[in-house]
Amino acid sequence: MKIESIGRLGRAAAGAAFLLLPTLPGFVRAQQSALPVAPASAAPKDDGQWSLAQKNFAATRFSELEEISTKTVKNLQVAFTFSLGIKPHGEEAAPLVVDNTMYVVTAFPNILYALDLTQPGAPMKWAFKPQPPSAAQGVACCDVVTRGSAYWNGKVIINTLDGQTIAVDAKTGKQVWRTPLADINKGESVTMAPLVAKGKVLVGVSGGEFGVRGWVQALDADSGKVVWKAYSTGPDKDVLIGPDFKPFYDSEKGKDLGVSTWPPDAWKIGGGTAWGWFAYDPDLNLVYTGIANPGPWNNEQRPGDNKWTCGIFARDLDSGQARWFYQMNPHDEHDYDGVNEIVLLDLPYKGSMRKVLVHPDRNGYMYMLDRTNGEVLYANTYAPTNSITGVDLKTGRPTINPEKQTKLGQVVRDICPTASGSKDWNPSAYSPRTGLLYVPHENLCMDWESVQANYIAGTPFVGANVVMKPGPGGNRGEFTAWDVSNGKIAWQIKEDLPLWSGALTTAGDVVFYGTMDGWFKAIDAHSGDLLWKFKTASGIIGQPIAYRGPDGHEYVAVLSGVGGWAGAIVPGNLNPHDRTGALGFVGTMGDLKQKTTAGGMLYVFSIPQS
């Protein structure tokens, strides 16, 4: 039987066999050969902790804990809560759990709390207040969020909104080192969760709507000293492109494309930030970095492919030297950042084992790339689209629909997906037990009018009036289970509001996600059937995690607190009657202020022990 033709039932049967005979090596191997698995080096055996926002280097967000299962999840109850104690903003971070301590980092002013899980009610051990300057809030395009922290070797590492990376002693809460990386007066900020790999902290800048010249930096995790810095635009030497750079497609080949694919000097303010997700393959020693949109949004101010924006770089972790780059959206005209999660998997594909990365792009296409060389294995839609009609696997380039290209002084209507994409930053989860990638995302379209953007350092550099609207069917959100091997949708759940929370899946075959009106939901990983839900105090845009508590039982944690780009209308008390507000998101969230209110809170759930 060809691997591609194994259907859902076949997989379910394999899964059932796996459950019944977990120790039989033959079945384990069969399971592993049939379904994609994360490389063991990037997703080691689960220790019941959660030390990176994305769980592991492969970014699977899969927990091997199974106490909370399809059978037991109905009994889930709140174990404890914790108020984040700041002026309400969108809480996008994943909590961490290491050594029976939970670490929670808040939106601006980026307070890091340590909670003692060994004590009833998980009292606070310490709070670290980094005190970033308030002015940084003026250069954050889309609410003053952070997407989390990372634990490494006795330190919790956070990024502040103004772009300081800080290591905090996990035991004492005292600062170990602090490295300023960004300059708010150039429009730079940092909102991403750092990735720590092999003693290096990887940080990418935000500010693609402020004329930032994008970069990724690697810091020594012990000292905070910068080891390398790679720009996303400009001459090869600044981008760390050298003799090792061997991209798969011809359009990525050539000298100094980071200069020549732009009008003179436009690359200096051309975006290409890296505010989303990275992944790391220890076997290849490659770090994968998602690169965001070119600036300004008005594409007529920057003719050319605008390298190296809207793509994925593979870089040597030690030197930062680029190995390959793949551009999903050359000369982006719709704000389709390439920063969404990058999930590393190995699978048999068309007769041979491939090391791949899976990436649900903003443009509505799910990409599966060979992560050794950047070749696109498939690029199939997971949401309604009309701005791109397909991806040419020979050239790697998207086929652009000329009717949905954006133009200066003209309103182009009903472009799908919208600027925030079929899916934005909020990460998917992958279960090796089902072979499905669980993708929380949006179903939005937009009207777009390009206008002249005026560069003033430290102020927005956008050049577009956008109004978002519900996509086909009117449901603004979708939760999609993506069959990775076959490159198509296994099933979908429609949601009224855009999904802006991450997903979590577990060996209990349960998938968790939250909605912007505050429901925290558990669904069956096989069927998508709703098994349990709980209404939290505010909309959920955080990343759920699972961990084993000191009592040996499984817990699930998530931050509630609406905001972010999609939810900015609530904490910012924006006026819904100007639909261009918040870069167009207000247009499709005119009802959100009536559906939820702002306020950050940690919720932790478990099954009560009788």
């Binding site: 259907g7 859902r8 039932l9 308030s134 002015a135 809030q137 003026g138 250069v139 954050a140 709507e209 509505g364 199939n380 839609t381 949401a383 309604p384 689209t385 009309n386 009717e403 009903d414 799908c416 379209c445 005026n454 003033i456 102020t459 927005p460 550099f461 956008v462 009036n465 609207k469 519900p470 996509g471 086909p472 069917g473 198509k488 949708i489 099933w491 759940i493 069956d524 069927s527 059937d529 709703l530 900015a568 209308i569 910012g572 008390n573 924006l574 006026n575 819904p576 009657h577 100007d578 639909r579 261009t580 507000g581 918040a582 207000v586 499709t588 005119g590 009802d591 202020k593 009536q594």
Partner: protein, 187 residues
Amino acid sequence: MYSRSRNRELRSICIAVATVLIGACAKGSETSVAQAPPDRPSVQGTPVSGLFPGGGSAPPADPLAAKYLGDPKAIAEGARLFDWYNCAGCHFHGAGGIGPSLADADWIYGGSMDQIYATIYQGRPNGMPSWGGKLSTTEIWEIAAYVRDFANKNAAAAADPVAPLPPVRDDQVRMPEIAANAPTPQQ
């Protein structure tokens, strides 16, 4: 009610357009307020709080405030500058985004002309840039006049927290492929 505010809006657009035309014709004339001497008001004298310990009161507003308030040419010029200096990048066209809405009745740092002037000139701690070194006094007054006028026209509508969603269009959209045997999850 609805048609009355529509009329008012139309009337103000007509006035603004006429003013731009007149302004263009009268270019170089000495009478326009926009060309008033660039007096620098004392922003230190502009209170942002309504509390005056010991029974004090707010000092009189800068006389220039009254000169620019409601002046159609200043408002039209302020609208242009609002876009030029990327104010719209944060405040958009009344909704707000990075910065607060300027269409509603909430004024964090005060909504009088001289308070708006002081906010633009000095900046404010939570992200409002300090424009005093970049803009002329006249430009700041013009932007303040535009902002004040804009709020006057829109505050009533902005008080409603809910706006209807735009209509759904699903023509010319490619739907993604779904597995033939895909279940319909029970919600």
